[in-house]
């Protein structure tokens, strides 16, 4: 039976089986908290990759510990109260009824909550946008993808945010249609993206890597499939990335048939490819599509095969997205995919 169990459950059950007696309860908790390995935790608030996320995770562990103690205390008192045989003198709780209520119901929570309030304020202040930012990125929520603009560098991309490691990056969050919410759990909390309203937020990553993020405010049909990646690069690599993006190269001759398909099949009405006549802004900018991790806002890996499938009928992969089916001949499709995936 254990073969059919999902891995995290199996590990959890294993842990419980190995535990004995009084340790069953904390072990159950631990199984739940630690179930799964580091590799599975691409979007976990408990596996922080930045100082900000680490601060919040620390707050969680403190609260988790303190409140487990409070919970156990209340349950022990309840069970003692209900099942203990009354002793000789009277049946009141220790210290007398009213005093018991004042101590347990007022004094204890006040002390704990005051401490918590201080910790909360401290963390809130620590999480404010740092004074010094090196880079501003504008992220605009669309149904159901992310437009990413670097106004100072004049770079436009989609569903992927490249940042340098070690420095706070200022984010300007907007929405083109309904309310979305920007959330990369391993880097920071979340911030809403509200139409007609601009929010500022920030992220920073300590180590290079890819950090998955996802829309956290329900935004309609494909809210579940509105993901993106933050790609943290070492500072030199980031500078190189910027430089590469800023020097558009016309597509080599070999890809021109694909470019023609792009222009004629209607792709250009919705998409932009810099340096060409395609300046549509309904869908993502496709200039550097080849270098991206995923297609369809985090939905499928970016390979020529997947791209062909997406162009052919993206409605099967992500029903309801705004991209219509295409009816290209196989060789046209092939040329188009080659053109889009080509380094430009």
């Amino acid at each position: 039976m254990t073969e059919t169990m999902p891995p995290s459950l199996k590990r959890g059950v294993g842990r419980i089986l190995r535990a004995r007696g009084v340790w069953a309860v904390p072990a159950l908790g631990a199984a739940f908290l630690l179930g799964g390995c580091e590799g599975d935790r691409i979007q976990s608030t408990l596996h922080p990759a930045s100082e900000a996320a680490a601060k919040i995770a620390w707050l969680w562990w403190v609260m988790c510990g303190a409140f487990t103690a409070v919970f156990l205390l209340v349950m022990v008192l309840l069970l003692l109260g209900v099942y203990r045989r009354p002793s000789g003198e009277g049946t009141g709780p220790p210290l007398g009824g009213t005093r018991f209520v004042i101590l347990g119901g007022i004094a204890m929570p006040t002390v704990i909550l005051l401490g918590l309030l201080i910790a909360s304020l401290e963390t809130t202040v620590a999480l404010r946008l740092p004074e010094k930012q090196t880079l501003t990125v504008e992220v605009i929520g669309h149904r159901w993808w992310w437009e990413v603009r670097y106004p100072d560098q004049n770079i436009v991309t989609a569903n992927e945010i490249q940042i340098p490691t070690g420095v706070p990056v200022r984010l300007v969050l907007k929405s083109a249609d309904v309310i979305h919410s920007f959330w990369v759990p391993r880097l920071n909390g979340k911030m809403d993206m509200i139409p007609g309203h601009t929010n500022t937020f920030w992220i920073a990553a300590e180590k290079p890597g890819e950090y998955r993020g996802q829309c956290a405010e329900y935004c309609g049909l494909q809210h579940a499939k509105m993901a993106f990646y933050v790609v943290a690069l070492p500072p030199e690599a980031f500078r190189a990335w910027v430089a590469e993006r800023q020097t558009p190269r016309p597509a080599p001759e070999a890809f021109l048939p694909g470019q023609e398909v792009f222009m004629q099949a209607g792709c250009k009405n919705c998409h932009t490819v810099r340096g060409t006549a395609a300046v549509g802004r309904v869908g993502p900018d496709l200039t550097h599509l080849g270098s991206r991790i995923s297609l369809g806002a985090g939905e499928i890996p970016n390979t020529p095969g997947h791209l062909g499938g997406w162009i052919g009928n993206s409605q099967r992969i992500k029903p309801g997205n705004l991209m219509p089916r295409s009816f290209l001949a196989p060789e046209e499709l092939h040329a188009l995919v080659r053109y889009l995936e080509a380094p430009k």
Binding site: S8, P86, G105
Partner: protein
Amino acid sequence: MSSTAAPPEPADYAGDLEEFNKTWAGPKGFFKWFATIDNGPIGFGFMFFSVVFFLLAGLMALLMRVQLAVSENTFLSPEVYNQLFTMHGSTMMYLFIVPFLEGLIMILLPPMLGTRDMAFPNTSSFGMWTFLSGGLMFYMSFALGDVPTIGWFAYPPLSGPEYTGLGTSFWLLGLGMAEIAGILSGLEIVVSCLKIRAPGMSLARMPLFAWTILVTGVMIVAAFTTLLTATMMLELDHEIGTQFFDPNHGGKPLLWQHLFWFFGHPEVYIMFIPATGFISSIVPVFAKRPLVAHTYVIIAIVLMGFLSFGLWVHHMFATGIPWLSMSFFTAASLMIAIASGIQVFAWIATLWGTRPAMKTPMLWVMGFLFIFVLGGLTGVMVAIVPFDWQVHDTFFLVAHFHYVLIGGVLFPCLAALYYWMPKLNGRMLSERMGKWSFWTTFIGFNVAFFPMHMMGLLGMPRRVYTYPSSLGLDGYNMVATVGAFLLALGFLLTVANVIVSARKGERAGADPWGGDTLEWAISSPLPGPMFYQIPPVYSRHPSWETDESKRQDERIERASRATANKPETWRGILMVDVLNGLPQSIQPLSKGGYAPSFAALMITVASMGALLKLYLVGAICILLALVSIIVWLWPHEAYLKKIRESAPALEEESGLPVFTTGEKSIPWWGIVGQISTVSLMFSVLFYSYFYLRLYSPTWPQGGIPRPDLLMPGVAYGLLAASALPQLWARRAFKRGEEWQVSGGLIGTLLLGAAFIWALYAYLGGLEFTHRTNAYGSMFYLIQWLMSGLVGVGMLLNLGLHYRYRRVPEDREHFMPVQMQVTAMFWYFLAVLGIAVYGVVFLSPYV
């Protein structure tokens, strides 16, 4: 501790029992359901239909859990999943918990307070039918094939006209109806708790349950009125093109969030506070002693109700509001945790060492404590701003609020069901089945919802129809799904228990648990006329009170004796002083009829007609609705005649007035309730007005010039001036100067009509409309509502004038209070007019 207040022996002071029974007997036949206004059947209607909605919403939850059991599942399409979570949430929040509680309250409150019915029986009936119509309208969207996918919170712009269709319009309208039902029950509950208790039941002697209900009632009125106003604005955005929430035309999506959560946060406590009332009723009875720290618990409840209105922003921590104001809301949220702490420790202290019998109600109470303490603690966690930034809108939240709503509200409801079932149908629920149901539910619940905390922490957002396997959440989701089915089985066992026990259950006596409150002093099931004699009350635990020597207050005894099988020919109840509970008057309740249910039905059909663009149907039905409301509010002359005939003898015996005015009369409380509701609604509109102004670069928006002062000044001046003839009429009425009364009322009517004419003459000349931008929408909405209210006030004046001329024999009896409430409403309109003039016309110049 056994019951002492047995039904009275027929004594020489008692009235004719047969006549009395006939007066209180409900209507007969199939159509009785539409004609009845008795708290019993109305409460049953609320509970029955809410449980039907509950089962539907539960089924939807199971479908969603199947879809989420494994990653990348295709059991449901995204469209259907989004429809299901929208309908699941909104059904549970709007159509199940609050109506279920209202039903239970309606049945239990009058016997607990020692009276014979709720304060406004017609309103109960209207409320029940509006709630049912609202629910059907919610579900109309299935018939229309356009089920909303906007979530129970309906955030614009996603819920606005650009992204949704007819189904959402129906949903909003149904929501509006359910809110109206809620507001009316809220008013009724408050007035019942404050005024129609047994003689001698001072506030200090009022059962704790009634205290929780009183606080809840006030909260319902405040919170639901806010939501009703917001819903109306969003519905107008849909139907007539206003721009309240459209960011492209000066509207603000965040305004909806503020208004919604000003309702939405208290809503949680509106459900939770009555639940604590159930617990505080059951715990002392099983512990066989009064609640420890009773006063502290009352303070905690009032504090909780009050604070819950200062917390709404804690649902908006991620919207980018200043961190200092967020910290304020964190502090307020933490204070509310103390209010919960007091109650939890009071319950433990009460049970301490009493070795209570672990019967089913007590089991649900224990389960409640386990789950609620956990849910409360995670509630404190999400009030911590930085932590909320992570878990907001994730499954952690889903876990948290299900712990609070199922553990904290539904478990107490089930405890209450097992505890009070004898009062509902005279039989006990099966203990054995109850225990099975409890353990299945308890285990199933925790298996279903505990893993969701982890899913949230590991990055699973809410309201997603699927998730990638790379998140590593398959295991947790599968466990949760299995738990959900176990939970459903547990609930079904109780449903089965209720059905089986209704036929085969063991018959319960009047008092199977040894209860302390008055409902245990009368038979099970609750009898038709609730109390043959309204009992005198000298204790907080009247059914435990054995010390006869306390029974000595002559006013209380006299009032109680005077109600023995009396009044015989009309439904009479005692009104008492709010604070000390001394009897003040005997007041008639309406005798019932089809008007309230018909009005609710017509309003429903009329609004559906309007949405489907069948304007003729809409117009006819709205007219019929108006007529039936007039019929309902119109004093029933034959009934009044009966009251006039028997009043002198009754007044003589009881020493209390029957025809009276002011706070000793029910209509006075009715109009005070209406005035409060309308004031709240205008406060919400004014708040919205200034909110829009605060966040608009220019005001008025879009180059509209500042409003003219003269013409509207004349209109609102006329309205203010119309208070004078009203005052004149009222004075003349007291002196009995017939022609001056007529003159005053007609003068009021003429000035009211002049106001409406002047206002619309001015509006007709304006360059902008309600479609221009959010400013225009706000501007027109306030004017429309104002003129509508003046129309209502004019109808009241017309009715009064008609009765004054045609029924002169009533001038000394019921008519004084009719004159009083008409005048109060009109003065209120004059003052409200001045406020509107200040806000809409003067404030843009500041």
